[in-house]
Structures are given as structure tokens and as C-alpha cells.
């Protein structure tokens, strides 16, 4: 149990999938936030201040990295 034996037979592909899920969950959480919350305190509503876009770019790059390696 302490060594996560239940995952010992999991294929490399499924392990990679589970790891990528760890990035997708925060992305979905970010996308689900209201516009008001995302821009709260911002000086203006310019598109570059949309933090959902920031999260999307970061997660996109990370997923590419985990697919490549």
C-alpha cells in the first residue's frame, strides 16, 4: 500500500494520462471562473488581462512537454 502497488501494472500511456490530468483539472477550474472574478482589481478589461488565457497558455505548453517526454 505505502508504495502505491495498485499502480504498478499501469501502462506508461495511462501513467502519462493521469499526470496530464493533473494539469487539465486546474485549467478546467480556471475556465469555470466568472469574468468578474478573473478581472477583479484589474485596471481595465483588456484581453491580455484575462487570466483564463494565461492559464490556457501555460497548461498547453506543459501538456506538450509531457507528451514529448
Amino acid at each position: 500500500m505505502f508504495n502505491f502497488d495498485m499502480f504498478s501494472d499501469l501502462s506508461h500511456g495511462w501513467s502519462r494520462f493521469l499526470v496530464i490530468i493533473a494539469f487539465i483539472i486546474p485549467l478546467l477550474f480556471a475556465l469555470s471562473q466568472s469574468k468578474k472574478y478573473i478581472y477583479q482589481g484589474a485596471a481595465d478589461m483588456k484581453p491580455w488581462r484575462n487570466l483564463k488565457l494565461w492559464v490556457f497558455v501555460i497548461v498547453f505548453i506543459q501538456v506538450l512537454i509531457y507528451i514529448y517526454f
Binding site: 499526470v19 486546474p26 477583479q40 492559464v55 512537454i65
Partner: protein
């Protein structure tokens, strides 16, 4: 290793520039809020850069490259899955929560949510760790500088302490953050120089991969981020996902005073959130400059017995005069950014959670500012005096880091329960924290019997986190509920969705702060 004239000139120019930039910010410090939270004036880009550079120490500069030399690209997990998801959640959930609650320190929050014992225990453990770690960091840096530049160790320790002390004591958090911005740029330029020159020497990325993979079966997984639990590695994917991504990374980015304090100095809530996301973006590049050089060293100089020698060998053999000075400046940047951040955070906790709480609660703001600066100076002197003790205990750095990992899972557990479960009581918090720490220690003592990998700190973090949650939940259910008035503003939805309450809290904090 000797530096040429141009290298020495660049290094001295850098060190002088750092001191000038840092001391410049003294003129903005008039109150404790200016000193500890940079007057809540910091922009997101500066905070994000500071978060990233504070996370990279001089030991990492050498250690990460050495680990990559031994284990391969899997070490990059610490900056990718071991940082990015936790930073996104920190940015969108926890930082705005702390920011709106108006707290200075994590122990302060724990004290309000639970009780004085939890606050004091957390503050004390954190302070002991940072205080002793400062001495260890300074000594390790002195040893490295002595090896690389031929300086006497204590001279290197004192020079480092004086430079860091000058800008940290005078300019507080704003000086620390702005100096960190310069440090990160230097580190990135230095790291990029090694990356480009190394890949050029090897004939490109493809040639490097081919060369390393042809070295034998033990290098077959050097370019795999996801390693099987059966592989001979301290970093199997199960440990990376459960121990690192789900416990240690959130504990670091959500419950670490050094990190959180920077975001609390943001000029507004949007900047506070954006700072951590910008930090996450920059963090993705760290493996390029610290992990990939380890692979480059392996491709160029296979057979180095001690992986930690890979970085010095790379500098010596690869870099031309001028660039060597730049990389040395980056090395200094790495060590100073960690020391200044630890110093500033420790001084904040000493002043707010110990001195103001127990010794002189009625001191005015001017007095607390003097005390904050005094503590910063005293901590630095203490670190210099205790630095040589490290030489008496080989491996003490690793030992201290292991002790800290005992503390990370339980802290995260009671923070999450306190924020998201109204039913958690003060006794639940105390039992969860204490019991979790003891469980970590027990798992560590029994590691030979319980775990199949050599250094199971990732697994210990996960199980102590779960154990801590279980203990806190059981103890909470067995003890009376906390009165609703006590919980107002301390449980997540109350802070984020109750504007009226936030105004009350802000007024309370202003009244509490003399």
C-alpha cells in the same frame, strides 16, 4: 578555477549594481507595511520573477544539474508538474483569499482560524527551520565559492552576508523583490549561455539524445519524465504525482511564507493573482537552464563520478572569458535570492507572530519597523556565526530538508481543512498538525521496512498528509463546534463572497495594526 579580468569586472559590476538597486528602495520604507509587504505596491511581473528566483538556490544551481546528470530529465518534474498546477490553484484560489483576509503571515491565519498553540507551533517550527537553514545556505555557498574562486570560506560567507544584509535590512520586501528581478534576468542569461554553447558543442538536441542513449541501458530513460515505480529511481511517477504534485508543491506555494508574502505585497487583487501565474510561466523555463545543462555535461563529459561536479566542469570547459563572469554572477544571484527571501520572511514571522504577539503588543508601527530591521540584522549575524557548524555535520542540509518535509504535509492538511471545512475545530487543527508531524517522523524511521525506494520523501509527504487529515477530522468531530462568529471571514466562501464582511475585516486589521 581562476577568473579573467573581464570576468572579475563583470562580477564586481553586478554585485555593486545589486547593492545600489536594493538600497535605492530604502526611501520607500516608512512603515511595517512598507517593510514587510512593500507597501502593497508591487506589480505582478516583479513578484512573479521574485517567486521564481527565490525558489532557486545556489545549491540547486549545482544540485539540479548534478541530479539531471545522474537521473536525466525526470528532475524537470520539480519545476513542471511539481510547480505549475499548484501555482495555478494558488493564483486563483488561495492568494486572493489571503489577500482579501489581509493577513501578513501564514501562522497569523492559523492562529485566527485555530488557536494560539497552532500559530505558535507553526511559527516556531518555521523559524527554527529558516534560521538554521540560513547558516547552512551561507556555509554551502562559501564552500562552493571557495572551490570555484579560491576565496577563504569565511570570507565568502561574510561578503555574501554583508551584500544581502545591506539591501534586505534597509529596503525590506520591495528591495528584495526588485533585486530578485535583476537576479532572475542574470540567471536566465547565464543559463541560456550554457544551454546554447553546450548544444552547439554537441551538435544539437538530436545529437545529444543519440549520444546519451547510446551510452548503455542505464541511460535508456534519461529522456523520460514519467518513470515506473519499479524503476531504480527516487522519482517514480507515483511519487511525483501523489507526493510532489498533490502535497509538497501545494504546501510550498500555498503555505510557504516566503512565497505567499510576495503576493500579499501586490498593488491589487488582479496583480496578486497574475503574479503567481506569471511565476508559473517563468518556472517552465527553469529546467532549460538547470536540468538540460546536466544532460549537456553528460553528453560532453561522461564519467564524472560525482554528479555535483558536472556544473563546475561545464563552466570550466565550456565557457569563454566574459561568459564565465556572467555565469558566476548568476550563481551569486541564485544564492542571494534565497538568502534574502528567507531573511525577510523570518524577520516578518519573528516580528508579527512572536514579538508583537508575546513581547510587546502595544508597540507602535515605528517601533515595529525598527524591530523588523533589527531582527533581520540579528538573523544574518546568527547565520554567519552558525554557518561553520555545518562543516561539523556532513549532510546537514539534506537532513534539515527532510525535517521540513515532515512538516509540509500536515501544514497543508490543516490549512485546507481550516479553509474549506467549517466543522474543523481548534483541537482538530492542533491534533492534525502535531499528529501529522509525528506520523512523518515515524514513517521516516520505518522507511526501510515500509518503502521499496531508497529516498521515499515523496511517499512520506503523501501519507503524512492523509494521516493528518484523518486525525484532524476525527478530533474535530469529537470536539465541540467553533462558534460561528469566530469563523467569520476565515472559511473560504465567507471571505470571497461576503463583501460586507471583507470591509469589516479590513477595518479590524487596520485597528489591530498600530
Amino acid at each position: 578555477m581562476t577568473l579573467t579580468g573581464i570576468d572579475t569586472f563583470l562580477l564586481l559590476l553586478y554585485l555593486g549594481g545589486i547593492v545600489l538597486v536594493g538600497v535605492y528602495f530604502k526611501k520607500y520604507v516608512h512603515s511595517t507595511q512598507d517593510y514587510f509587504l512593500a507597501g502593497k505596491m508591487l506589480p505582478f511581473w516583479a513578484i512573479g520573477m521574485s517567486i521564481v528566483v527565490s525558489d532557486i538556490g545556489a545549491l540547486d544551481f549545482v544540485g539540479l544539474t548534478g541530479q539531471a546528470y545522474r537521473y536525466g530529465v525526470v528532475v524537470g518534474n520539480f519545476d513542471w508538474i511539481g510547480s505549475v498546477p499548484a501555482m495555478i490553484l494558488a493564483a486563483l484560489v488561495f492568494i486572493p483569499y489571503y489577500w482579501r483576509a489581509g493577513v501578513y503571515t501564514i501562522p497569523e491565519y492559523l492562529g485566527r482560524r485555530y488557536n494560539l498553540a497552532v500559530r505558535t507551533l507553526h511559527a516556531a517550527v518555521w523559524l527554527i527551520f529558516i534560521t538554521f537553514n540560513l547558516g547552512i545556505m551561507l556555509w554551502a555557498t562559501g564552500v562552493m565559492l571557495s572551490e570555484l574562486m579560491g576565496w577563504p570560506i569565511m570570507l565568502a560567507v561574510i561578503v555574501t552576508a554583508v551584500i544581502v544584509g545591506l539591501y534586505t535590512i534597509t529596503g525590506g520586501l520591495s528591495a528584495v523583490v526588485m533585486v530578485d528581478v535583476v537576479q532572475l534576468i542574470i540567471m536566465f542569461v547565464g543559463g541560456l549561455a550554457i544551454l546554447i554553447l553546450g548544444l552547439w558543442e554537441l551538435g544539437g538536441w538530436g545529437a545529444m539524445v543519440e549520444r546519451i542513449e547510446s551510452m548503455g541501458p542505464q541511460y535508456a530513460h534519461h529522456f523520460d519524465l514519467i518513470l515506473s515505480p519499479q524503476a531504480n529511481t527516487p522519482y517514480p511517477w507515483t511519487g511525483i504525482l501523489f507526493g510532489l504534485a498533490l502535497v509538497l508543491a501545494p504546501a510550498y506555494f500555498i503555505a510557504n511564507q516566503t512565497i505567499v508574502q510576495r503576493s500579499l505585497g501586490a498593488c491589487d487583487e488582479w496583480n496578486a493573482k497574475a503574479s503567481v501565474l506569471w511565476g508559473a510561466f517563468l518556472k517552465m523555463f527553469i529546467p532549460l537552464f538547470f536540468v538540460f545543462p546536466g544532460l549537456i555535461a553528460l553528453g560532453l563529459f561522461p564519467g564524472i563520478e560525482d554528479g555535483d561536479r558536472a556544473f563546475p566542469v561545464l563552466i570550466k570547459q565550456l565557457l569563454p572569458p566574459g561568459l564565465t563572469g556572467l555565469v558566476f554572477a548568476a550563481f551569486f544571484a541564485a544564492l542571494m535570492s534565497s538568502v534574502d527571501s528567507a531573511l525577510n520572511s523570518a524577520a516578518t514571522i519573528w516580528t508579527k507572530d512572536i514579538y508583537e504577539r508575546f513581547i510587546n503588543p502595544r508597540g507602535d508601527d515605528r517601533h515595529m519597523l525598527v524591530v523588523g530591521r533589527l531582527f533581520t540584522g540579528l538573523l544574518l549575524v546568527f547565520a554567519v556565526i552558525t554557518a561553520p557548524i555545518s562543516s561539523l555535520f556532513p549532510g546537514i542540509y539534506v537532513y534539515i530538508q527532510t525535517l521540513l518535509s515532515f512538516f509540509q504535509g500536515p501544514t497543508l492538511a490543516i490549512l485546507l481543512l481550516g479553509m474549506f471545512w467549517r466543522r474543523t475545530t481548534q483541537w482538530g487543527g492542533l491534533v492534525g498538525l502535531l499528529g501529522g508531524i509525528l506520523l512523518s517522523a515515524l514513517l521516516y524511521l520505518l522507511k526501510g521496512r515500509l518503502f521499496t525506494i531508497d529516498d521515499p520523501f515523496l511517499y512520506i509527504s503523501w501519507w503524512s498528509f492523509l494521516g493528518s487529515i484523518l486525525l484532524a477530522v476525527l478530533s474535530s468531530l469529537l470536539t465541540p463546534r467553533e462558534p460561528l462568529e469566530k469563523l467569520r471571514g476565515l472559511v473560504y466562501h465567507m471571505v470571497l463572497r461576503d463583501r460586507e464582511l471583507q470591509d469589516v475585516m479590513r477595518r479590524n486589521i487596520e485597528e489591530e495594526t498600530p
